[in-house]
Amino acid sequence: MKASTGNLAVRRRQRFDGWDVLIHLTVLVASLACLLPFIHVVSKSLSEDAYVIANKVFLWPVGFNLEAYHKILADDSILRSLYVSVIVTVLFTILGMVITICAAYPLSRKQLKGRTTLTIIFMFTMYFGGGIIPEYMLVNNLGLLDTIWSLILPSAFSAFNLLIMKTALSSSIPVSLEESARIDGAGHFRILWNIVIPLSKPIIATLSLFYAVGRWNTYQDALFYIKQQVDLRPLQLKLYYLVIQASESFQLEATQVQLSNPEVLKASCVVFATLPILCVYPFIQKYFVQGVMLGAVKE
């Protein structure tokens, strides 16, 4: 490895000059700007209240303790929000993928009569929609307000994901393979189940992650639709009320005589809400990069 880069450097007649140092430094500073805020918040969440109040905590915990995390883990409402988020994300991802595959496979078959019209019906929704209020009224009329279904059903169809899936299917499944399956007497259901889905595992994984991470991070619809049933707030919305709006107090805090500084608790809430994404991030990153490339390649 070293030898080859060395050769390359000689061939290009470029030594590691001042500009290189500057470029490396700039990139490093940018990366640190992405990393340090997390380290700060983590340090704060592990510090003792007194030091945080005195503004003494920067990138290392001062007066290390886990008290704030004990409180979070003892707080039912936060754990319930985590639970709601997990359930909603799982159901949403499964439903979204079923819908996407059911639409993408027929629309990727050239023999389908009415393909263009159907594709336009699906794709038009990418550029125009009813908007916030008509959607709100629909959810209201269907009686979905304050249920987890309001977070699952309305956004389960994604024109963008369908476009990616359709493009992937029309390019990755050879027509000859399908034809030979048909000659063997397989119907479309068999072809889809036994050939198309096994062959499209990578794209299915990528789109599932698009659905899952998108659902996990979105809070707009929860803010609109989950009003009375406080129990059903997903984690992001819970975090909004706890930390940003700070209108909601921690359950345990109210019952305890000694009020602790909420700053540490806020920080640990942020860490708690960030951890799930941070845990999966190293593994899902490459799928997302591939997904961006697929989305950029137009049919």
């Binding site: 290189d20 470029i23 940018a30 159907l118 929609g129 916030i132 209020i133 709100y136």
Partner: protein
């Protein structure tokens, strides 16, 4: 010769017959042949009709004086009165201005930054160093705006934000990053740059990696230095990508990011935080003024659609693939 022409004739007649048959075959034939495909389409189609097209009928609210007691269909038609009313409102003018302002400034900063970062990353030879930095730079893209907002308040708040603590330690005065209007605007933009500068590089890096290496070799032979290569080879090669993305973003200039503004706003800064979607939320869901809010949403959606179509036309005229 004769045989050939005869067989040709037969071929023609056969295809002719086939074509005629196909023309005669109606919808019933295709339904019978591909019924499984149509059956599969039922599920997604019902979802799109129920949750994407059905709300569009709700847009008639924009042309009605909606009274909850009289219901959706019972309320009176008022034509464009609702629009006339909202166009005259001070909030409306400010929301349109803010939407254009925030998105316009985003185009200047958040759009250009990934290009710069991509060019810098491209100059780095060490694969390990590059990959480690990319992993860190991509990270903010995966976080929700709520988490980003919460971190922003931890770092930038006036009383106990870490950045302000640092400034004070070095002898400076505390800065109201998120508490004053002008400061808020700068913070909003900076946080946007922070969130997207890494992720936005992916497309540029991919298009840089497809540049023919001979072009660089030729440039070196001509005595080009580092910056000459960037200016005369790399940038012209990714120009198409830049222009396409720019047009796409111009088409979205009337869209507002509700989540980003909402997570970063607070009561102290109302001047720039009222964008169109935020106003729709306030009028409609908070105040229950459904007609005005629907009209405002429709106004934005129609302009957005026109802009996207225009962007697509321009892209096609410039010889790009087009966006739609």
């Amino acid at each position: 010769m004769k045989v050939e022409s005869a067989s040709n004739q037969r071929k023609i007649s056969i295809t002719g017959v086939k074509k005629a048959e196909a023309a005669k075959r109606g919808t019933a034939y295709f339904l019978r042949r591909d019924w499984q495909l149509y059956l599969l389409l039922m599920l997604p189609l019902s979802f799109v009709l129920a949750f994407k097209y059905a709300p569009m009928t709700g847009l008639v609210l924009a042309f009605k004086d909606y009274k909850i007691a009289r219901g959706f269909w019972g309320s009176d038609w008022v034509g464009f009165e609702v629009f006339q009313e909202i166009f005259a409102r001070h909030d409306f003018i400010r929301a349109v201005r803010n939407t254009l302002l925030l998105n316009g400034l985003d185009l200047v900063f958040s759009f250009t930054m990934p290009i710069v970062v991509a060019l810098l990353l491209n100059e780095i030879k060490s694969v390990k160093f590059k990959r480690a930095n990319q992993t860190l730079l991509y990270l903010p893209h995966f976080l929700s705006w709520i988490i980003i907002g919460a971190i922003a308040y931890q770092l930038l708040s006036l009383g106990n934000g870490a950045v302000n603590n640092l400034i004070e330690m070095m002898g400076g005065n505390r800065v109201p990053f998120l508490q004053k209007d002008a400061h808020w605007l700068v913070s909003y933009l900076a946080i946007g740059v922070w969130q997207s500068m890494g992720w936005g590089t992916i497309i540029y890096l991919a298009s840089i990696s497809s540049i023919n290496p001979e072009l660089y070799e030729a440039a070196i032979v001509d005595g080009a230095g580092r910056w000459r290569k960037v200016w005369n080879v790399t940038l012209p090669s990714i120009r198409v990508t830049i222009v396409t993305l720019l047009i796409m973003n111009l088409g979205k200039i009337m869209e507002g990011s509700f989540e980003r503004v909402f997570a970063l706003q607070n009561k102290a800064t109302t001047e720039y935080t009222t964008t169109i979607p935020v106003l729709v939320y306030r009028w409609g869901i908070e105040s229950g003024n459904f007609s005005s809010a629907t009209a405002l949403g429709l106004f934005q959606a129609v302009i957005g659609l026109v802009l996207v179509i225009m962007a697509d036309r321009i892209a096609k005229r410039l010889g790009e693939d087009g966006l739609i």
